[in-house]
């Protein structure tokens, strides 16, 4: 017999705050639409997109993938530590997540600098317009994420740490979709 007095619904099972999930889904829709547009425009000029892709740095992007998933691991451990009321460990893991985030931005900066040195800019080709738009917008999220992780580390409490870590995982999630589409798919 069904227990009609139960108020338990699907939203009760959702880990973390509902609003952070609204943000995660919104961001995924924005980046998903950007990647779909990238693939659609690519269909009109496959040779041009292939030669543009050859100028990119897949090894640097692969390194950044490892850096970002490791950073996500550190953020997940920070969530666990804050819930276990271990503030020192929580701050340590948040610091590690932030440090990896900074490494990601430094590697990305080298990538942009090298492309600029080759004279490649936003208007060089449609592929680069998408490249700079999508990876630049993502890098802005990484910078914001580093700041947010730093803010929640000041006064470590489980709820803000979990929310900040969820934002950080969203940044990670977007990157694992950007990486193959922009850098690897020939």
């Amino acid at each position: 017999m069904t227990d009609l007095s139960s108020d338990h619904g699907p939203f009760d099972d959702l880990p973390g705050d509902l609003m952070i999930w609204v943000l995660i889904v919104s961001e995924l829709l924005v980046f998903g639409a950007g990647l779909a547009a990238f693939l659609a425009v690519r269909a009109t000029d496959p040779a041009g997109f292939a030669s543009a892709q050859a100028a990119l740095h897949p090894a640097a992007a692969a390194l950044n993938t490892a850096v970002l998933v490791t950073s996500g691991f550190a953020a997940a451990l920070a969530t666990w530590a804050s819930e276990a009321e271990r503030p020192a460990a929580g701050r340590l893991w948040l610091g590690a997540a932030m440090a990896f985030g900074v490494v990601f931005l430094v590697v990305k900066g080298f990538e942009y600098a090298d492309l600029a040195q080759q004279g490649i800019g936003v208007e060089s080709h449609a592929a680069f317009t998408f490249y700079y738009l999508l990876t630049g917008f993502h890098a802005a999220h990484v910078a914001a994420g580093v700041l947010i992780l730093g803010l929640v580390a000041i006064r470590l409490r489980p709820y803000p740490v979990e929310t900040a870590a969820a934002f950080w995982h969203m940044v990670d999630l977007v990157w694992v979709l950007l990486f193959p589409v922009i850098y690897l798919m020939g």
Binding site: I24, G32, A40, A43, V69, L184, M185
Partner: protein, 83 residues
């Protein structure tokens, strides 16, 4: 064998990333390689959703995420194969 889900997910993500890079580096990335690489990207996305974002403990939402990832795969593959 790593038993704790978090380090296991991290090891899986690193392994899948290495595999993607190796596949892309292995030869001129042809259509099949690219499809495999996209599949590996979506497997990484699922791992992040299930473990880092803890959806594995919420089957209803995990099923929803699986549907969304499947739709993304169909959309991206459809656009990719058009070329």
């Amino acid at each position: 064998m790593i038993r704790d889900p978090l380090p296991r997910a991290w090891a899986l993500l690193i392994g899948l990333s290495l595999l993607s890079a190796a596949l892309a580096d292995w030869s001129d990335p042809g259509r099949l390689t690219s499809i495999l690489i996209l599949g590996l990207g979506l497997a990484k996305a699922r791992t992040i959703l299930a473990t880092y974002l803890r959806l594995a403990g919420a089957p209803f939402w995990m099923r929803g995420a699986d549907w969304v990832l499947a739709l993304v795969e169909v959309l991206f593959l459809g656009l990719y194969i058009v070329v």
